[in-house]
Symmetry: C2
Subunit: 643 residues, 2 copies
């Protein structure tokens, strides 16, 4: 056990990728495999294996390009306003619709608009027709034998039209690479299973499968294999025979039961074990029987990243293509980001357009937090040569949502309240192009974000200990000289979130000290923390008497989760958070939670859409039913200051 | 017949669309329909109908975040390099792997790297553990009851991970809108059918089907209905019952058998018939039984555009979303574009990055030319308020290929040769990210394009009548002072393309005049035209003696197609074009076809990739086998000039 190989390589990303692709190319591991012949009408999104040549021309006959009358141009020469010419139907003129063949003897079409009927059979024209006018000649669109699309071309919807127009009904495309997804681990259970401690829901191969399908591959999800070397080896051997590419998830690190690298080495060859990226470091790049085999790390964000960086280029290469680059956008970093030298870090960020600039705010950096991907609008790469960014620095961000969605996002930074989730949901239902993006940095953090121009508004519930009023004195202090509008969202109950049945019989903050209970606090600058400090002071309790005072969480739900898990006996938060996790709640105070809106954005859709939704009875009802909320002032302007 | 309603409305695009969506919204025609419950693992790309809330937390137990040793932090206090502490396995320490549950009594994890084993059971630590270090608490990722994604959210691959992590296995999504595609027209035949004059291959509904699928709808292609009013009415009625949206293709104009508008009016309501766009004007926006019914024009480019402009927003609206915007790029217009006032025109363009700017060159503007979509890299909108653009003007172009592909495109503007198609195909096979984009404007046009900095190179075969040499004297005249490299692509036979069997017994250009035959010419500035003029002069023939001298085509294949169709008796062109259409060929001269390369690009991948491909034996073989080519100098530098 003490001889475990606990260190991985730290190969630079670009080197690892280039070496891997070069090795695979050398052994034929990137070859597309035998062409597949498919009907053209099923070929959208597929990639041509050989060029497609037209079999017939389009049009394949001289056709009328207009609704009108087909004539012989010679018969029309000399016609003018002064000297109109008469033509007779079926004698020297034939009615044609768009697409009709030009009758023999005719070589021009006169538009129906330019024809003046004298009677049923006779009509007058007042200008001559030029030969071939308003006609579509044979081959105008497609000429037989011409190349319609080259090889290695990903077919778009309208390409199918060009190919079918050229008389081709079946084409040769590259086969979709079969990607075997092999979930391994004794701890894995299928989604929907009853969960015991230690069980992990096997969702990575579902995510990987969706990614593979998106790239144009064919995912083959395999059964879960337990951490048994021989069973794993047998399963892997079979997977390599059945598939073109195999991903083993996970066991790719250097732990006791991390067999992946050894398995690949045993059956084939390991090119790289460990890449200098974060998350995603413990990736294994290997090859068995000339086929790419990748050990994908188990943490979900690592898995997504490793697949995106190393498997996507392989799938695309087998389709004769290179992966499309994600759309990028310049953004301004909202706060300092520190990142280790020597490691390329991938930081998930929230994005929003505030004023003229796009602001980028990092979210959780844990490799285990898949929600950091779900919540992200973009990915910020910090090169291994950089130690990070300063607040206010301009960076390039890869977009995970379309830029126009980012541009339609209302950015709220500040205190967290569950009512914001309800607001986000109602907003999107009412305005499908709109998004509410909230980052939780506490009330003071929110006011500071407004000051720096990083948000349209901030959620804030800052109690002025002297006046007993909320927010106004803080705004006058922190946003002096700026025009802001303060609009109430809710009044809400704050109190102590405690275990079900309140086993420690907590009645107030004084019991925390008296009973030496474990507390879980909110972060510095959070209104709830200020409230807690105020209550401590009222009770004459010094903060360092409270066990766990220094343990900080960023949201009400995180505090409730800490209590639910038993790691804390109490934490201050809103009633709705306690109710959501079926915990008990000891009310302490009713407080006011407002939206502090920068005046310059008040009359923009970013804010007016929110106010419209806040006025909806259904929104108010949904918030009310969370418990602990009073919406008597929802949407009401509480204060205005002008610059 | 003379009472036909030959005029359509000319409603501005924005007005037509807004009125249509407003009307549909009013009658419930944009409602998504009943939710569909589907397994999460099949939900990528689908749109949530209601928000998804977590059922369980993730992790649902306190888990180790590292491979290491779980301890009670209290037991480790005071450990340092000077005063290491000893811990004993299974007594006050337990080995854990990443993801393992933390055993009761433990509240911290020490990384395996920081543990120094003394023997099998005992290890030493040299620093204390902070409570909760290297642990993943319950709910670190997902907290039970929290909203994972809102309603109206299009699910990405990793969203599935967040949802499954939250213990949810099935979700409610909006149903895919069923879009009935109803091909109409007596002239339509299925792809693959034997073609008679007047037959039109029914490919529009295949293209529309692929588009609908791309947007997230479910295409339902119906059988072809002939132009019979009662049959159409019956079919339409049934389609409206079976589908959520119906597209009728075509009959949307005002011709004799254009029944679509009347059919919709008969069964429901026509909102708009005729929109001020080009192509796509004769579109019908209607509603039957509160369902959207659109008459889509028959010309393929019109059909694609009308569907993109009017059907896509409807499909997205039914999915609670707005269509994503196409990525845009600024580009420089390479030549003057004239567009009618009052009509919004959609011009397909070729794009390429030449130097620092992206150059945009319009291609065919015919609504019937689907190949104009296949060949396009982008779409240039010319507003109804504009008369067009001047050469050199900056415009915004909607991209139809990713920008990085455009950036990797070698732009060749100039004379046309079929060998360029072969080159394009081999280039893409060898360099999957590279594209060769050729625009055919004749040899002189190509040199002018180089002069204006709109291309990397030009295909040119300009004969100097005095020296008998090719290209050099023209380069010295048109590109004086510029650094260029002239590289040979092929030597090729030029001659007269004539009908099979050469029925008019043509032996040379003098026969064209003598026998008063119909000629088809190339456009002004084409090397082939210059060659023809030279031959006329040699034979003492005045151009105006040649019938059809003023009829201009832009490519060898178009000339061959004119001969094949019988609309011309002869045209000058290369042997390969004659062979491709199984025509006869009367050789006139062997000429040199070179690539004239701007010196500044010679050492860039744009050109070096081409030269690499030109050196491939397989490329040379493929060109040779087209017939009429000699590759003795392929890739050889024929001339260099320095600035």
């Amino acid at each position: 056990m003490n001889k475990r190989d606990v260190y991985l390589e730290d190969k630079p990303l670009q080197q690892a990728l280039e070496e891997y692709l070069a090795h695979l190319a050398g052994v034929g591991g990137l070859d597309p495999g035998e062409n597949e012949i498919i009907p053209v009408e099923e070929a959208a999104g597929r990639v041509t294996a050989v060029p497609v040549f037209a079999r017939s021309s389009s049009p394949h006959y001289h056709a009328s390009a207009m609704d009108g009358v087909a004539v012989c141009a010679l018969d029309t020469f000399g016609a003018s306003e002064a000297t109109p010419k008469l033509l007779t139907m079926d004698e020297n003129a034939v009615i044609v619709d768009t697409g009709d063949p030009i009758p023999p003897g005719c070589d021009a079409v006169i538009m129906i608009e330019d024809v003046h009927f004298i009677d049923e059979k006779t009509f007058e024209i007042t200008s001559g027709a030029v030969p071939w006018q308003h006609m579509r000649e044979i081959g105008e669109d497609v000429v037989a034998t011409e190349m319609i699309v080259p090889a290695n071309h990903r077919l778009r919807s309208f390409d199918l039209g060009g190919i079918l127009a050229g008389g081709v009904t079946e084409i040769a495309v590259h086969p979709k690479p079969k990607v075997g997804l092999m979930p391994t681990g004794t701890e894995l259970v299928q989604p929907g299973a009853e969960l015991k401690p230690g069980d992990i829901i096997e969702y990575n191969t579902r995510v990987l499968g969706a990614m593979v399908a998106e790239w144009g591959g064919s995912p083959q999800r395999l059964e879960i294999t337990a951490d048994n070397y021989d069973a794993l080896k047998e399963r892997l051997q079979k997977a390599v025979e059945e598939c073109d590419i195999v991903l083993i998830n996970a066991g790719s690190s250097a732990g006791r039961e991390d067999f992946t690298a050894q398995l690949i080495a045993d059956l084939g060859r390991v090119l790289t074990h460990g890449v200098a990226i974060k998350p995603g470091k413990p990736v294994v790049l290997g090859e068995i029987q000339n086929k790419p085999v990748v050990g994908v790390p188990g943490y979900p964000v690592s898995a997504v990243l490793a697949a995106d960086l190393f498997v996507k280029p392989v799938v695309y290469a087998k389709l004769g293509a290179v992966p499309p680059q994600r759309e990028k956008s310049e953004a301004i970093v909202s706060r300092k980001i520190v990142s280790p030298m020597g490691t390329e870090e991938f930081i998930r960020v929230k994005l929003g357009k505030v004023g003229e600039k796009i602001v980028c705010t990092p979210i959780s950096r844990g490799a285990g937090v898949i929600m950091s991907m779900v919540r992200a609008d973009g990915m910020l790469r910090v090169s291994g040569l950089s130690e990070g960014y300063k607040a206010g620095q301009a960076v390039q961000v890869e977009l995970m949502r379309p830029l126009e969605e980012v541009n339609e996002t209302t950015v709220i930074i500040g205190s967290h309240d569950i009512a914001l989730d309800v607001l986000a949901n109602h907003l999107r239902k009412r305005f499908p192009s709109a998004t509410l993006s909230s980052a939780h940095v506490g009330s003071l953090g929110g006011l500071n974000a407004l000051k720096r121009g990083e948000a349209h508004c901030a959620g804030t519930h800052l109690l002025d200990e002297e006046t007993g009023d909320y927010n106004v004195s803080y705004i006058n202090r922190f946003l002096a000289g700026q025009s802001v509008v303060l609009v109430n969202l809710v009044h809400r109950e704050q109190g102590l979130i405690v275990a079900p049945g309140n086993p420690h019989q907590i009645r107030g903050v004084d019991d925390l000290a008296a009973k030496r209970l474990n507390y879980v606090n909110r972060q510095r600058g959070a209104g709830t923390r200020i409230l807690f400090d105020y209550k401590l002071k009222q009770n004459g309790i010094a903060p360092d008497v409270i066990q766990g005072y220094e343990r900080e969480e960023y949201t009400h739900m995180a505090v409730a989760a800490a209590v639910a898990s038993g790691s804390a006996d109490a934490g201050m938060g809103i009633r709705a958070a306690a109710l959501a996790l079926e915990l008990d709640f000891v009310p302490v105070v009713e407080e006011r939670y407002d939206l502090c809106i920068l005046g310059e954005y008040f009359n923009t859709p970013y804010i007016q859409r929110l106010l419209e939704v806040m006025a909806e009875p259904q929104f108010q009802q949904d918030v009310f039913s969370l418990g602990g909320y009073d919406l008597r002032d929802c949407g009401k302007i509480m204060y205005e200051s002008r610059s």
